[in-house]
C-alpha cells in the first residue's frame, strides 16, 4: 500500500478493485441461483451458462409449492431462529460480560470448558441427544431445536472478546458507585456499547439456526413442523430427474428472509457508538 497523507489515487483504485472483485466473486453463485430459478429445468446444463434471468420464476415456484408446505416451513424456521437468537443474545452477552469483567474463582477453567465444548464434533452428539429428547418427549416440537441452542459457546467467546476490548472498567465502576446493581449496570452501560457485537452475533446465530439441517432432520418428524431446510430437501428425489429450476426457485425464496434479516441488523453496525464513553 502506498504511503500518503491522504488516500492517493493509486490506493483508492486498489481498494476499489479489491472490493469490487471480492463482491463479484461472492455474488456470482448467488446470482446464478437466481438465473436458474427463473429459467426452465434444462438451463443448468447449458454451456456457456445463461447470463440473464428468464421468465419462469413464478412457474418454478408454483411447482415447488405443490410439493412442500413452503410458507408453513418458513414460519417454523422464523420462529425457531428468532427465539434461539433472542435467547443467545441475552445469555451470551451476560456470560461474556461476566467472563470479561468479573473476577471469580475458577474463571479460567470455566472459560476453557466453554471453549472445550466447541471441540466436540456436532455429528456425534446427535445420537445421545436424540435419546435424551425422546425421553423428554420433545421429539417433533420446536423445543427440541430451540433449547439446546439457547446459549452458545461461540457467542460467549465472541462477547467476551468484544466486551473485553470495548468496555473500560471505569465505566462499570462509575455505574456501581451510582448505586446500580450488576445487572442494571449491564443493561444501562454495557448493552448500549456492545450493540454492534450483538448485531453480528445475532446475524450469525439467526443464520446458523436457519441453515441448520442435521439436527432438525433428526428430531422433526411431521411435515407441518419441518423447517425450511428440510422442506427444501423434499424437492430432491431419485426416481425422476432433478428439476433444478424448481429447487433453485424455492431456495431463492427461502434465502430472501435471510437477506432481509441481514439488512435490518446491518443498521446496528454503526461505528463510533463508543465515542461518547469514557476513554482511558
Amino acid at each position: 500500500m502506498p504511503v500518503g497523507e491522504k488516500h492517493g489515487f493509486l490506493a483508492r483504485t486498489l481498494i476499489y478493485v479489491v472490493l469490487i472483485a471480492g463482491a463479484a466473486l461472492s455474488a456470482y453463485p448467488f446470482y446464478w441461483m437466481l438465473v436458474i430459478a427463473t429459467r426452465t429445468r434444462d438451463a443448468v446444463y447449458e454451456m456457456p451458462p445463461a447470463i440473464l434471468p428468464g421468465p419462469e420464476l413464478i412457474a418454478n415456484m408454483s411447482h415447488a409449492l405443490e410439493r412442500i408446505i413452503f410458507f408453513r416451513a418458513l414460519w417454523n424456521s422464523a420462529v425457531v431462529s428468532a427465539s434461539t437468537t433472542a435467547s443467545v443474545l441475552f445469555f451470551c452477552s451476560l456470560a461474556g460480560y461476566a467472563f470479561a469483567k468479573f473476577d471469580f474463582p475458577g474463571k479460567k477453567w470455566l472459560f476453557l470448558l466453554v471453549l472445550g465444548t466447541l471441540l466436540v464434533p456436532q455429528q456425534l452428539s446427535v445420537l445421545p441427544n436424540y435419546i435424551l429428547m425422546s425421553k423428554l418427549s420433545w421429539i417433533d416440537s420446536y423445543k427440541a431445536i430451540i433449547v439446546p441452542g439457547m446459549v452458545s459457546a461461540f457467542g460467549i467467546f465472541w462477547m467476551r472478546q468484544y466486551i473485553g476490548a470495548s468496555i473500560h472498567q471505569e465505566l462499570i465502576e462509575a455505574s456501581r458507585i451510582d448505586g446500580c446493581g450488576y445487572f442494571y449496570t449491564f443493561v444501562r452501560i454495557v448493552l448500549p456499547i456492545i450493540v454492534p457485537a450483538l448485531a453480528t452475533l445475532g446475524i450469525f446465530t439467526f443464520l446458523n439456526t436457519w441453515n441448520d439441517f442435521f439436527w432438525p432432520l433428526v428430531v422433526l418428524k411431521n411435515n407441518e413442523n419441518f423447517t425450511i431446510q428440510i422442506a427444501l430437501q423434499q424437492l430432491f428425489s431419485r426416481n425422476d430427474s432433478i428439476d433444478y429450476g424448481m429447487i433453485m426457485a424455492a431456495t431463492f425464496f427461502a434465502t430472501l428472509p435471510l437477506l432481509v434479516v441481514f439488512a435490518l441488523f446491518s443498521r446496528w453496525f454503526i461505528s463510533g457508538l463508543t465515542s461518547g464513553a469514557v476513554k482511558s
Binding site: S83, Y130, S137, I146, Y184, F236
Partner: protein, 448 residues
C-alpha cells in the same frame, strides 16, 4: 464449607438476584426473562401428532421414500377402509430417511407404523428384525406366491421364517440406447437386432469399439454402470450367506472389474458420474449412445434428455439382467396398529395398486401376474419410439438372481468404484488399485 453456609450462600444469592436487577436509585425494573427467552411460544403448535379421536378411526403414520404416487393411493384407500387415515411423511433423501429410522429404533421411540425400506439398506435392518413385526405372522406367507421369488427372498431371513417387508417395486436392468446414434455408426438399431449385436459381453465390447471408431465418442456413459452390469449376473457379489467377505475370491466381481478396465483402456467408457448435471447434459447431447440401467431410470432419462424424445429404445442386457433398487414396506414393532397397517400395505402392494404406481410413476411391479395384464403390456411410450418398454422390463425380471448383498455391500462397492475411477481419471495401475481396494475392504470388515 458447612451445610449452613452453603444454604446461606444460596439464599443470599437469591436475594442478591433481586438487588442486582436495579439501581438503588430505583431504576426501571428489569425482570429476567423466563427460560424460554424469546418471543415464541415453543410447543404450542404441535407437541405430538394429533391425539386419537375417541371413535374408532385409526391413523397410520407412513414414512415413504422418493416419488412413488402413494399419496394418491392412500387417498383411495379411504374408499376401502373409511375409518383408516394414512399420514404420509415423504423423504427424498435415502440416507436421511434410513438414518432417521435407525435413530428412532435406537431411542425406542418415534418410529412410524409403516416404514419403506430400500434394498441397499435392508440388511442392516434385517439384523435388527426383533424390532419389526414378522409379516408372516400377519398373513404374508399366504401371498408369497404372488411375488417375484428373488424379490421376496431379499427381505426374508435365510431360513425363510421371518419376513421383514412386503415387496413394492423392482429395478431390473436393461440397455437404454439412442437409435439415431447407433444408426449413424452403421449398426443395426432395432431392439432385437441391436440386442443380438451385444448379446455377450465380448460382442458388447466389439460393438463398442466399432462405435468409438466411427464416432470418436464413448459408447457408454460411465464405468459404474458397466461394472454393475457384469457384477450383478453372479449368484453372490461381495458377501456370502453368512455375511463373510468373498469379493476377493468371487470370479464374477473380478470379471466385472477387468471388463470395465478393458472398456476404460479401449476408450469406449465415458467419464461421467451418476446424478451430476454434467451427466444429464451428456445424456441430452448424445455424448454416449448406451446406458445400462434399471427400469426406474427411464424417468431420469426423460427428464435429463428432453430434446431426444423418440430417439431412445430398450433392449435386453448381455448375458442376463441384474437388479438395482426397489423397496419393501415394513411394520416396526412399535406400531400399535400392526393389523391395520398390514391390511393397508398388502393392499398397497397388491396387483391393482402396483399397476397404478407403474402407470403414474413408473414403479416396476413385483407381481408377475401384472405383466400379463393388457393395461400393462400395451402401454406405449412416445419417448421410447412407441416401444412397449414395460414388456422389456418384465422380460428382464425373469433372469434376475436372488442375491444377498450383506450389510457392508454399499461401503464395499464404493471402494471398488473408487478404484475404477482412479484407473480412468488418474491412469492408475488397475492391478495395484484392485489390491488396494481389497486391502481397504478387509480393513472395513475387521470392524463388523
Amino acid at each position: 464449607m458447612s451445610l449452613f453456609k452453603k444454604w446461606g450462600a444460596a439464599g443470599a444469592a437469591l436475594l442478591l438476584a433481586a438487588s442486582v436487577t436495579a439501581c438503588s436509585g430505583g431504576g426501571a425494573p428489569a425482570s429476567a426473562p423466563a427460560k424460554n427467552g424469546g418471543d415464541a411460544k415453543p410447543g404450542t403448535t404441535t407437541d405430538k401428532p394429533a391425539d386419537k379421536p375417541t371413535d374408532k378411526p385409526v391413523e397410520l403414520v407412513f414414512w415413504s421414500l422418493g416419488t412413488n404416487g402413494y399419496e394418491k393411493l392412500a387417498e383411495e384407500y379411504k374408499t376401502v377402509k373409511p375409518n383408516v387415515t394414512i399420514k404420509i411423511q415423504n423423504t427424498a433423501d435415502q440416507t436421511a430417511h434410513h438414518n432417521n429410522m435407525m435413530t428412532a429404533l435406537t431411542a425406542g421411540k418415534g418410529a412410524p407404523d409403516i416404514f419403506m425400506l430400500e434394498i441397499a439398506f435392508l440388511e442392516k435392518f434385517l439384523e435388527a428384525k426383533d424390532k419389526f413385526n414378522n409379516l408372516n405372522e400377519l398373513g404374508a406367507d399366504k401371498i408369497k406366491g404372488n411375488y417375484l421369488d428373488w424379490k421376496w427372498k431379499q427381505a426374508s431371513s435365510p431360513d425363510g421364517k421371518f419376513q421383514l417387508g412386503l415387496p413394492t417395486d423392482v429395478g431390473p436392468t436393461v440397455v437404454y440406447y439412442r437409435t439415431d446414434l447407433i444408426e449413424k455408426a452403421g449398426l443395426p438399431s432395432k431392439p432385437d437386432d441391436f440386442g443380438k449385436e451385444i448379446a455377450t459381453w465380448a460382442k458388447f465390447a466389439e460393438t463398442a469399439n466399432k462405435y468409438k471408431e466411427k464416432t470418436g465418442k464413448p459408447f457408454v456413459d460411465m464405468p459404474d454402470l458397466v461394472f454393475n452390469g457384469v457384477r450383478d449376473q453372479g449368484n453372490e457379489i461381495y458377501y456370502n450367506d453368512k455375511d463373510e467377505f468373498i469379493g476377493d475370491k468371487n470370479a464374477q466381481v473380478k470379471k466385472a472389474y477387468d471388463f470395465t478396465v478393458k472398456g476404460i483402456k479401449e476408450g469406449w467408457v465415458g467419464k461421467n458420474q451418476l446424478w451430476t448435471p454434467e451427466w444429464a447434459k451428456d445424456t441430452n447431447d448424445g455424448g454416449f449412445a448406451v446406458m445400462l440401467a434399471p427400469a426406474w431410470m427411464n424417468g431420469v432419462i426423460k427428464g435429463n434428455a428432453k430434446d431426444t424424445s423418440g430417439k431412445w429404445m430398450i433392449t435386453q442386457m448381455p448375458e442376463g439382467a441384474g437388479n438395482w433398487g426397489g423397496s419393501f414396506l415394513t411394520i416396526p414393532k412399535e406400531s400399535k396398529n400392526a393389523k391395520e397397517a398390514y391390511e393397508f400395505i398388502s393392499w398397497l402392494v397388491g396387483k391393482e395398486s402396483q399397476l397404478k404406481s407403474y402407470v403414474s410413476n413408473g414403479l416396476m411391479p413385483s407381481i408377475p401376474a401384472v405383466y400379463d395384464d393388457p393395461k400393462f403390456k400395451e402401454l406405449k411410450d412416445q419417448f421410447f419410439a412407441d416401444q412397449a418398454i414395460s414388456v422389456e422390463f418384465a422380460k428382464a425380471t425373469k433372469s434376475v438372481k436372488p442375491i444377498r448383498y450383506g450389510k457392508l455391500h454399499d461401503a464395499t462397492d464404493a471402494i471398488v468404484k473408487e478404484s475404477l475411477r482412479n484407473v480412468q481419471l488418474k491412469g492408475a495401475d488397475p492391478q495395484a488399485e484392485w489390491d488396494n481396494a481389497i486391502k481397504k475392504i478387509k480393513e472395513l470388515n475387521k470392524r463388523s
